[in-house]
């Protein structure tokens, strides 16, 4: 990478993310309180350093302890689910794009069907069916339903990489399929996949909190979504016990915002077309003819996870190009 210039956007996102990670990883060590232990009465106000830093929730448990462990849980679920979804999407997309033909048709049809069936529906149905929802089963369920948009984008990119000469060279020199895919195709997709992974993780985190608020969250752990679930179910908003719901809300917002920002700045980094330049403005330059800081179609992150991914990096000309 020649001139890798990290934009301010990247640094802001990285700092925010670092703070969140710090809280998740170090937090439980600092806050030496068991989130399930009763440390006070119902909705006690925040008081001083220690377990009551953010007061107590509806079961008299320490909010700060729950917050810290909850952040950790949310992040773990998000990372797991995001990883699973990325791996599946990558696999399906590469195989479909590279093989073409019948394999491609089958995989693409499968992808398209699952693209249209709303993820949230399937996830809710699966979660309802599960008796004991552990972090891992939830992550698994979310992972196996969130891959279609990634598969579609990867397939498109793989198809274009497939037509390049070095692939023919590799095949003629007798390399077997897995090694071609790994060494000749994957490097071209890597930058996009990194971006997509970030998006998957944030989608999974949001999806988990959506599930938790419906009552389908992990049964043996506390997550940010579960904190909100209890906050709503026990009317903390109504009674004004802000310490019960504001911290998880703020934390979720920070996580979601910083991940989205990170993904957007990575997009700028990897896709040179999108780089905003400091073009010195000379007097008299006609602003109407300005070259834009172009950004392709933006990803859509919703309560149901990612519904549309970022535009794949195109270095093939648009239709009807030269």
């Amino acid at each position: 990478m020649k001139s890798v210039s990290f934009t301010p956007r990247f640094y802001v996102a990285a700092v925010m993310l670092a703070i969140v990670l710090l809280i998740a990883i170090i937090g439980p060590l600092v806050v030496q309180t068991d989130p399930n232990a009763t440390v006070g009465g119902l909705y006690d106000r925040p008081a001083g350093w220690g377990p009551l830093l953010l007061g107590t929730d509806n079961e008299g448990q320490s909010v700060i302890a729950n917050l810290v462990y909850g952040t950790r849980t949310s992040l773990i679920v998000g990372l797991l689910a995001g990883t699973i979804a990325t791996i599946i999407g990558l696999f399906v997309g590469i195989v479909a794009g590279f093989r073409g033909g019948l394999v491609d048709n089958l995989l693409s049809s499968l992808t398209n069907i699952f693209l249209v069936i709303p993820v949230i529906i399937v996830v809710i149905l699966l979660s309802v069916a599960l008796d004991n929802r552990s972090i891992f089963t939830l992550a698994f369920v979310m992972g196996i339903t969130s891959w279609p948009w990634l598969a579609r984008a990867v397939r498109a990119q793989t198809t274009s990489v497939r037509t390049r000469e070095h692939i023919d060279v590799a095949m003629m020199s007798g390399a077997n399929l897995p090694s071609i895919l790994l060494r000749d195709v994957l490097p071209y997709l890597l930058s996009y996949v990194v971006m997509a992974f970030v998006l998957q993780v944030s989608g999974a985190i949001l999806l988990e909190s959506t599930l938790s608020m419906l009552g389908l969250g992990p049964t043996n752990a506390v997550s940010l979504g579960i904190m909100l679930y209890w906050a709503i179910a026990w009317g903390s908003v109504r009674t004004g016990a802000w310490w019960a719901f504001v911290p998880p809300t703020v934390m979720l917002t920070i996580i979601s915002f910083s991940l989205l920002l990170l993904q957007s700045s990575l997009d700028e980094l990897f896709n040179p077309r999108l780089r905003r330049g400091k073009i010195r403005r000379k007097k008299g330059a006609d602003p109407r003819f300005e070259l834009p800081a172009a950004e392709g179609p933006s990803p859509q992150l919703t309560a149901a996870g990612v519904v549309e991914g970022p535009a794949p990096i195109q270095d093939t000309p648009k239709e009807g190009g030269r």
């Binding site: 001139s3 210039s5 780089r275 905003r276 330049g277 400091k278 073009i279 010195r280 403005r281 000379k282 007097k283 008299g284 330059a285 006609d286 602003p287 109407r288 003819f289 300005e290 070259l291 648009k318 009807g320 190009g321 030269r322």
Partner: protein, 290 residues
């Protein structure tokens, strides 16, 4: 007699996102008389397209015109202040025919809509029927099917699109048409058709001059009356076509011509030497004007 075109001291610079300056056109002046086809020849990066875009008043950031003046029929405009140049100059005085007409028309509109909008931008009172009639006449005069008007861009073939866009560029009878590599994306027969159309339009005085930017020297042989050869942002040699082709003086022009693969009998006997036979330093010799 006033020249059709008098472009003086043009300097155009590209500003890269990292802040560097790349000089595209380095203090170039060219003149044209009525009825001329001036060929701007050169290799990639010579500045010919940049010069073309500046003269057609379509230069946009990151290309900045630092100084230069453009006089058409004696009327002068200051090129360093693009915003002050009257909008109606574009299309009616100077007009561009862009490289690769593929995406020149918005994919969601019909040709006739663009025709109407262009005409209306210069004559606010024109009625749609009138505008389309004029366009239809133009198409018929130049031997193109009138149904092209009703088509969407994706419904036209490459060659047809290029010719239709040529018509659109000359709808307002501009004084000067700047064609940027119009034949580069076409097959040989489409190239011929386009060139014939341009010459026919010139003869019918639809426009009074053409600047033909290309890297394809053999094409210039058939269409240009004068040629200006560019190298690294400067004009190194200019003169009548025959002089340039048969009797080039500047080392770069010589190098360029010696690398042309043309099955013309005259050249078949000459061994093609290519650029490597020449010392690149010699290309920095001063301009030769014929």
């Amino acid at each position: 007699m006033t020249n059709l075109l008098d472009a003086a001291n043009i300097r155009g610079v590209y500003y890269t996102p990292t802040g560097e300056e790349v000089v595209g056109v380095d203090n170039v002046s060219i003149q044209m008389a009525e009825g001329e086809v001036l060929g701007l020849a050169g290799e990639s990066g010579s500045g010919k397209s940049t010069l073309g875009s500046i003269i057609s008043l379509t230069a946009r950031p990151p290309l900045i015109v630092e100084h230069g003046s453009l006089a058409v029929d004696g009327k002068v405009q200051d090129l360093s202040d693009m915003a002050s140049i009257p909008r109606v100059w574009r299309g009616a005085v100077v007009s561009m025919l862009p490289q690769g007409a593929m995406n020149s028309v918005s994919p969601t509109m019909r040709i006739r809509d663009l025709v109407f909008d262009v005409m209306r931008a210069h004559d606010g009172k024109i009625k749609k029927d009138e505008a389309l009639d004029r366009a239809r006449d133009r198409l018929v005069t130049l031997g193109l099917p009138t149904r092209a008007l009703d088509a969407y861009p994706h419904q036209l073939s490459g060659g047809m699109k290029q010719r239709v866009v040529t018509i659109i560029s000359t709808l307002l009878n501009p004084r000067l048409l700047i064609a940027d590599e119009p034949t580069s994306a076409l097959d040989v027969s489409s190239q011929k058709a386009l060139i014939e159309m341009l010459l026919e339009m010139l003869e019918k005085e639809i426009m009074s001059g053409v600047i033909f930017v290309t890297h394809d020297l053999p094409v210039l042989r058939t269409v240009a009356t004068r040629i200006a050869v560019m190298y690294q942002g400067k004009v190194v040699e200019s003169g009548p076509t025959n002089t340039i082709v048969d009797d080039p003086e500047h080392p770069y022009t010589r190098a360029l011509l010696s690398s042309v693969l043309t099955p013309e009998p005259k050249y078949a006997k000459i061994r093609i030497e290519g650029m490597r036979a020449f010392d690149r330093e010699s290309f920095k010799a001063p301009e030769v004007k014929h």
